[in-house]
């Protein structure tokens, strides 16, 4: 349709925005946020110092939180592959 009538209301104007997930149009958040569970870790101070040294050796340096997350994902990835190989 080449010719469209002018939106009658601001709501109509907003909802004409394409490309957003259909769920968003229905008022439901399109991206379901994973539940975040805070975990308190107890680490040996020397171990933490090693972590910080590894963090600071990277350029650009990630946050400590990001570095630990990467470590967790790498570990999970290795464990999953090991499990798949033995299955």
């Amino acid at each position: 349709m080449a010719v469209r009538r002018k939106p009658a209301s601001v709501d109509e104007f907003i909802q004409a925005g394409g490309a957003q997930p259909v769920a968003e149009k229905s008022g439901v958040s399109a991206k379901v946020m994973p539940e975040i569970q805070p975990v308190k870790m107890r680490l040996d101070a020397d171990l933490l110092a090693q972590v910080d040294a590894a963090v600071n050796s990277r350029r650009p340096a990630p946050s400590r939180h990001q570095w630990i997350l990467e470590a967790i994902y790498e570990k999970l990835d290795r464990e999953t592959k090991r499990f798949d190989a033995s299955a």
Binding site: I14, Q20, K25, G27, S63
Partner: protein, 210 residues
């Protein structure tokens, strides 16, 4: 751009709300890292919320009166969130690359802005070059085309393609906070900031969208 503006405004003692209306949620990720980086000194220094679709309009209008400034980060796509931001913003600031496809996109954005004007008569729209080339004619040619696009004011305050912007963002910092500092990057951002402040100086709701 939005995160750098939020950091800059809060560094001036302003109470800032950063609304992340981009599906990529970069501003929220930035704030998470920033809160961790600056945990010892009180965290991000501004308030950040994620909003999508029509809520970008309704919830921002409700929250705006509690803050000095509202910065809304919208993606480049024509989404309900972007339109909702256009319906309430005082300034719509559009960064674009000095490249053909980006400049052509400005024409589409211009048409969207014209659609939005009946619902927001205070809307002012500006564009500026982001990741400007350090040499060559592309910046000049892109600026010439941008100046011709109706409904958009071209601001001659380009941000260069500088590693400092990326390095700062990776640490949850504004480029003004990066150490060692990149004076050129800081100067460029401050020039853009002053331009936007000049535009908003008489506004009651200095909402910026990027």
């Amino acid at each position: 751009m939005a995160t750098n503006m939020a950091v800059l405004l809060s560094s001036q003692g302003r109470d800032v709300l950063l609304v992340d209306a981009d599906e990529q949620e970069t501003a929220s990720d930035f704030t998470i890292i920033r809160n961790e980086t600056l945990a010892a000194s009180g965290g991000a220094g501004y308030t950040s919320v994620k909003l999508h679709g029509a809520a970008v309009r309704t919830d921002t209008l409700r929250l705006a009166e509690k803050y000095d400034d509202v910065v809304i980060d919208v993606g480049g796509r024509d989404t309900a969130g972007q339109r909702a931001a256009l319906s309430i913003a005082d300034i719509y600031a559009i960064p674009f690359l000095p490249a053909s496809f980006d400049v052509w996109t400005l024409e589409k954005v211009s048409r969207l802005i014209e659609e939005a004007r009946p619902f927001n008569d205070k809307l002012r729209t500006v564009c500026f070059i982001n990741r400007a080339d350090s040499r060559g004619q592309d910046n000049v040619e892109a600026a010439e085309i941008a100046r011709e696009i109706p409904g958009l004011t071209y601001l001659d305050v380009p941000l260069g393609n500088r590693k400092a912007f990326r390095s700062a963002a990776a640490q949850g910092l504004g480029v003004i906070e990066l150490k060692p500092a990149d004076p050129k990057a800081v100067a460029e951002l401050m020039a853009l900031y002053r331009c936007l402040c000049d535009i908003t100086v008489n506004s009651q709701l200095p909402a910026l969208t990027a």
